[in-house]
């Protein structure tokens, strides 16, 4: 963390305690930026053989090199990451983070570097196509509480005459396994996960795609106290244009279609208003 915020009194109190050194997180101007990651979230970030790996890790290192900034990674469980960023315990959040309106009120997003869409998964040997898989009395699997469930309820189940029933599962692995048994006819899941299942050899195929265009981005503390948003935005665009981004992503998810950067920038995010930090030509009017 940057910037010494400690006032003298508590510092002196702490100093008198037995623990002494190692209590304070380092704080000086030359320090590397702390990048918070959720390291149990493959393919975005994970640990293998004691080393951080994943799309977000490699891309963040590439951006740091491109912009000449120093970074260090700090792992935290996902629910702790946004509070840590809001409390300025970490400087940058780099994981598969979806841009939402609620989040944009507490943290600032970089330009989107990924876009997820939902796909309709059907069994590999199925005759169903994108129309028949989700109509006419079909039972469709989703993860309970997921954005896919919300989308299906809002746009299909409650607002149209299409006759489908949603089956809600704890997680998508169970849903996909249940589809193999035949209890449901299709599963709606985000395309990144779908590609993972196919690459892992599960007997499924994509019948079609729903373009919801949910952006994923990096994030910094609200109002960018470290003034790094511009560097990150320029870095993201630079590694995309040099092709490095594509190589990194394909290394982790072979065969995936890479969304263009900058992608869809929702209006509700204030850092997407023109001019965007570091990239003054971009932004919503």
């Amino acid at each position: 963390m940057k910037g010494i915020k400690a006032s003298l009194l508590p510092a002196a109190l702490m100093g008198t305690m037995v623990i002494g050194s190692g209590m304070a997180s380092s704080a000086s101007a030359q320090d590397p930026y702390t990048v918070g990651v959720e390291a149990s979230f493959p393919p975005w970030a994970y640990v293998e053989g004691g080393e951080f790996k994943g799309i977000a890790i490699d891309a963040m290192e590439a951006i740091a090199e491109e912009r000449g900034i120093e970074i260090e990674f700090q792992d935290m469980p996902f629910p702790s990451l946004i509070p840590a960023l809001a409390a300025e315990k970490i400087d940058i959040l780099a994981t598969g983070l979806t841009v939402t309106e609620e989040r944009s009120e507490n943290i600032d997003f970089t330009i989107p570097w990924w876009e997820t869409n939902d796909v309709v998964l059907v069994p590999e040997d199925s005759e169903l196509n994108v129309f028949t898989a989700v109509c006419c009395g079909a039972r469709v699997g989703v993860q309970g509480g997921s954005s896919q469930q919300a989308w299906m309820e809002e746009n299909v189940v409650n607002s149209s005459d299409i006759d489908v029933e949603l089956a809600k599962y704890d997680n998508y692995v169970t849903a996909v396994d249940d589809m193999a048994i035949g209890r449901i006819s299709s599963v709606i899941v985000d395309d990144t996960s779908a590609q993972e299942y196919i690459n892992a050899g599960k007997p499924v195929k994509m019948a079609g795609k729903i373009f919801i265009r949910a952006p994923l981005a990096l994030a910094v503390s609200k109002d960018d106290p470290q003034e790094i948003l511009g560097d990150l935005n320029q870095g993201i665009l630079a590694i995309y244009e040099s092709g490095e981004w594509g190589d990194i992503v394909n290394g982790y998810i072979p065969g995936v279609t890479i969304p263009a950067i900058p992608g869809h920038m929702p209006n509700f995010v204030d850092t997407y208003q023109k001019p965007v930090a570091g990239l003054p030509d971009l932004g919503n009017e």
Partner: protein
Amino acid sequence: MDIYDVLLRDFPFLLKGLGVAIVLLAALLLIGFVLGIAICLVQLYGPRTRLVQWPLTLYERVFRGVPIIIMLFIFFYGMSGIFDISAFGAAILAMGLRSAAYQSQIFRSAFQSVPTGQMMAARAMGMSKVKAIRHILFPQAARHAIGPWTNEFSSEIKETSLAYVIGVVELTRQAHYIITSTQGNVLTVFAVVALLYFILNRTGNSLLYSLERKLAVPGFEK
């Protein structure tokens, strides 16, 4: 690579996680021990004014009454406005202060198990309060405290596993890494981790029990 090869390859990282847990445990027990004894002595033999006693009682009630996970969040996020504390420092402080509240009650019951007549007798023989505590009460109370203290030791070992919520990479978090990077194997990995916690717990408790036997006075109190 099957899960056993992965476990074998990553075993040093599990041990590293165990090391972090042990350092955390030692630090929090030390804080708890020093503060706990101090609180207990003031509660039993200190000034009886409310000004001194009430804050101690309040501290003890609050720290025994709030879940440790909440304390971890408060110390890590809540204190960041005053003091830029690291995750490890926050974990040591939150858990150490909580352990102090528990340990103060362990020591209080141990000191109270020594008959009150002994203090009176020591004072009657001209010993100061401090001397009486040091030479008469403490040696007896220490023996009584070891049994309940093994409980505190065991429960604190297990609670170190909660420190991962604020980003301390200890044994449980290292296990998560293996589980997520291999996309499964929950049972196998956590079985190994459970065994590591169990060995640490048994070793610590065995040492404490042997200390208890060593300090026992033959033919007395048993």
